[in-house]
Amino acid sequence: MADNALSENPFRALRIALGVALVCALLVSIAAVGLRPYYVANLEAERFSRLGAILDALDEETGPISINDVEARVVNLDTGGYSDVIDAATYNQRKAANDPNQSTAVPADLDLAGIKRRANHAVVYVVRNPDQTIEVVMLPVWGVGYQSALYGYLALAGNANQVVALRFYEHGETPGLGSRIQDPEWESLWTNKEIFDETGRIAIGVGKRSGEDREFQIDGISGATRTSMGVDGLVKFWLGEFGFGLFLERIRRGEA
């Protein structure tokens, strides 16, 4: 019974609790750090496969294209033009967004995507027709959903006014609810939606579809209002002046 009395000593309990917590924390940390390179490689593969899926859905005329053959260009978001100073293969937009020298703070009233800082450059993928006009351009987009950051690509047609696809490749939304942003059925709703109305205002968005703006609106996901609003905000943000607005203008003028 002496042993039992010892067991109930509160300091002993505290020591054991701390010891177990420390060992567990150490093991989890080692696993997390050690396995991270593999996880990152998987995410990168996932990003490419999602980009490839957009290409696969394109017209058969261009034939099967691999994402490796597609032109990757760095866009300067402040001017809307291409930048040749930065190498598209090594540029890391996420790192740049945290570096004050490579990013710009987004004014709170314009920050529809909830990202606070926006990298000054972005890598876009351009698929060209035989006559060198743009067939599809794929823009990287990201923003805050319900409980995680959503990363995806928004593919636009060459007129910069029609959506080809919106594909997310990384998110941590609630499985079965917010995660339906990757549901093929929901993804298909984006295809052929128009972006700007006659006045040039960004009209595309997620919300209730009413009779008149059917060509602009995508149904929200029921049970995932915050995620739907997050997608709405990030699409509007990245198409707007602080996102790819200037670049899209150049495309429309045929200068990209």
């Binding site: 067991s7 109930e8 309990a13 054991i16 609790a17 177990v20 567990c24 989890v28 696993a31 996880y39």
Partner: protein
């Protein structure tokens, strides 16, 4: 002695199966059995967690103060589950994505805490590990049977290989969509339980109370 150890490992497969006799861990069994590959990966994950948590809890059993033992057990189990989840994300990314939250939910799987509290706290590390692995395999056995039935009747395939050609692809097999919905796993597990208890009547529990017919005089 060796015979007893063997028993520890084998009895949970059918004789004392966590799913069919103790009716534990049903929730995850509904969720991960739409196809065989997810069921297999879940089986491996749960078996690993059960085996390792058995050893760890058993090693600590003499030092664990009664007042905090459940919290310590859960801490150990949760850490193991996180590690298994990280391994899945690193090496089995696609399947890990389809299992989504259910790997994380192994923490709350009653089987794991049940074996830690019910067995590992009272037995040595080796026995506890065997008991954990046995229970994991017992859980997995049911998972695989349910997964096989659901995938075969729901998709016409096993491990993703098409066995019955569905009508949509020109074959003669009409997929049963009910099989892809969670309730079908309930029906299948119920049938398995019925079948096992039919073969082994000793598993049939005595009713806890007799239903007494209400007579009119007793109404209030």
């Amino acid at each position: 002695m060796a015979g007893k150890r063997w028993q520890t490992l084998v009895v949970p497969l059918i004789g004392d199966n966590p799913l069919t006799l103790q009716i534990l861990g049903i929730c995850s069994a509904l969720a991960v059995t739409t196809s065989l590959d997810t069921a297999l990966v879940m089986t491996i994950a749960v078996t690993c967690v059960l085996g390792m948590s058995g050893v760890s809890v058993s090693l600590l059993r003499k030092h664990l103060p009664r007042s905090i033992r459940i919290i310590v057990q859960i801490t150990i189990i949760a850490s193991l589950v996180i590690i298994v989840d990280l391994v899945l994300k690193a090496f089995f990314f696609e399947i890990g994505k389809r299992l989504s939250v259910f790997v994380g939910l192994i923490v709350t799987n009653c089987i794991v805490l049940g074996r830690a509290e019910g067995f590992a706290m009272r037995n040595g590390p080796l026995d506890s590990m065997l008991d954990g692995i046995g229970n994991g395999l017992g859980y997995g056995l049911v998972l695989m049977v349910v997964g096989a039935i659901r995938e075969l009747l729901g998709h016409g395939s096993l491990f993703g290989m098409q066995i019955l050609l569905p009508v949509s692809k020109g074959g003669g097999f009409e997929p049963l969509h009910l099989m892809l919905l969670p309730p079908s796993a309930f029906f299948i597990i119920a049938c398995i339980i019925w079948f096992i208890r039919r073969k082994r009547p000793e598993q049939i529990e005595k009713p806890e109370f007799q239903v007494r017919l209400q007579t009119r005089g007793e109404q209030k």
